[in-house]
Symmetry: C2
Amino acid sequence: MGGDFAPHAPVAGALQALEELGPEHSIVLVGRTEVVRQQLDELLNGDLAHLRDASNRLEFHEAPEVIEMTDRPSAALRGKPNSSMVVGTKLHADGLADAFVSAGNTGAQMAASTVLLRLHPGLKRPAIATLFPTAREPVVVLDSGANVDCSPQELVQFARLGSVYAEYMLGRTDPVVGLLSIGEEAEKGDMVTKEANHLLSGGDAGVNFQGNIEGRDIPLGHSDRGDFDVVVCDGFVGNVLLKFYEGIAPMIVEMVGKHAGVGRPELERVFGQLDYSEHGGAPLLGVRGVSIISHGRSSPRAIKNAIRVALRAVESRLSAHVGQRLAAAVPSVSDSSMDDSSSMATGGAA
Amino acid sequence: MGGDFAPHAPVAGALQALEELGPEHSIVLVGRTEVVRQQLDELLNGDLAHLRDASNRLEFHEAPEVIEMTDRPSAALRGKPNSSMVVGTKLHADGLADAFVSAGNTGAQMAASTVLLRLHPGLKRPAIATLFPTAREPVVVLDSGANVDCSPQELVQFARLGSVYAEYMLGRTDPVVGLLSIGEEAEKGDMVTKEANHLLSGGDAGVNFQGNIEGRDIPLGHSDRGDFDVVVCDGFVGNVLLKFYEGIAPMIVEMVGKHAGVGRPELERVFGQLDYSEHGGAPLLGVRGVSIISHGRSSPRAIKNAIRVALRAVESRLSAHVGQRLAAAVPSVSDSSMDDSSSMATGGAA
């Protein structure tokens, strides 16, 4: 029921995913079954008539409530226990599904995942890892919006989470981590970034740390020190950057089309590489399980790709690897509890 | 002597500016006179032979020391009082020049301007205002890197500074200000941004505040609430975004050229609109005077455009208007002194 184009996009995307993924996979559609079935019938009598076989691997699970995009996450969770978000996450938590995918309210998905799936030890909140296309290969940027006002210790955790993602989801060997700042020197940046650079440089962090990188390095996928796979930043910066990147492709299609006389379809094909829907879904890293966040504006194609991301996360045992990496970084657990106490202090002063 | 291509770029850019600006203007080249004159001779005996007349309006002022890009700003200021940065800023402070332009060490330029030109009351530090090309008209983004770890009160001051810039430098009537955040709702964002939204919404700020905008709105130059002229953010976010934007144009030229078979020169002409050198220089807002920061990688063309920006700032009496706007916003002065005391507390705790 989630996302700007529900139920059309989720139902059509699920059908397309089943077609691609093969007969051993099935998908449970969680929501108002009557509405979902009606949407399915429309698709099977229309554009997607050729996917009738695949539709036999769809199941339905009733969830009468819907969390709206404007609902406040924690209130929605308490107030709508029968929403598709809560019910779907519970299906996964109870082992009745291997993963959960949604294009609905991101905050509510984070809250539901944190409460129902729980987090690996050493984390206070999950992080969102997003793939940014570069001139080279995509790089993982995290956090992309789940956490603002981060502590240096949280940035170190993001470095670990991103390394696991790059290794198991993207197949990168000993992934290289860059810390996003405003200069390549360790002493450049705001207070949190400078301290995070110090912690990451110490070696205890257990990641292959390259040092600070700058905004201009991201589209290239490398800095003066070489290629990187993971970009670590606060969720405020990451979210601004992600949305800025999303906004640029249409602007450039417009400009190039107007001035250089290049055809729009041709350009849009090229800029598909800059299109969020290509990658489809961002795993909520740190939860014990697989919860994939899709863009609110997800098309059927984006949903299909999000389902593929979910499958890859399950097959690569992403969550188990995250748990192992965090457990191996013993100092991080105490860092994190230190950090808890500093948050409490802030709360007390407010 | 500043920038990656000195003395070539500053000398060639100054010549080109004189040619364009007409006979009533002259430029003082500050630096190692022998080196500067030798560079000039080379240009006048080579590519720029046609600008010999313009060169009669060049003057020379000896400054034997050079602040390197890697020098620490405050140490450089004390240790190199005869640097082109210090000597040039002093010429302007003493009224012997109407403006100062440099492609050198940005931190040192900020420090020199703050100490020698001084700031308008109500400010602790100057801000850097940068023009971002959009699908519509350029928008002013500030701060673009002069200030990290900003207070909400500082963001309010940026809103005022940006409004004056948009009005007097860009000719926008009653410029619209957006606050960069991670959601359009007032309660979205980190702690500083949420508090800044509250202060800006109050009406005392004296700016035409639209509310929060998101990263995706910047390339469009408008949000769902309409067009905006000024984007307010912390200097960390602004600098990351600026450099990201700079890095994207070359990446896209590469991608489009490869996939769509469009000629490189054609694309580069289009992406000139995304090129920093088009706009050339960013005024250091808040100083009593005109100090223009050029990119370290400035070409002669970028320097020429920076000189044009300086001239526009002088002719529009930008600095005087900034002073008037800040003085009119009486609450801001007390806000700012409140903010000073909180900085002191932070200093004491460190």
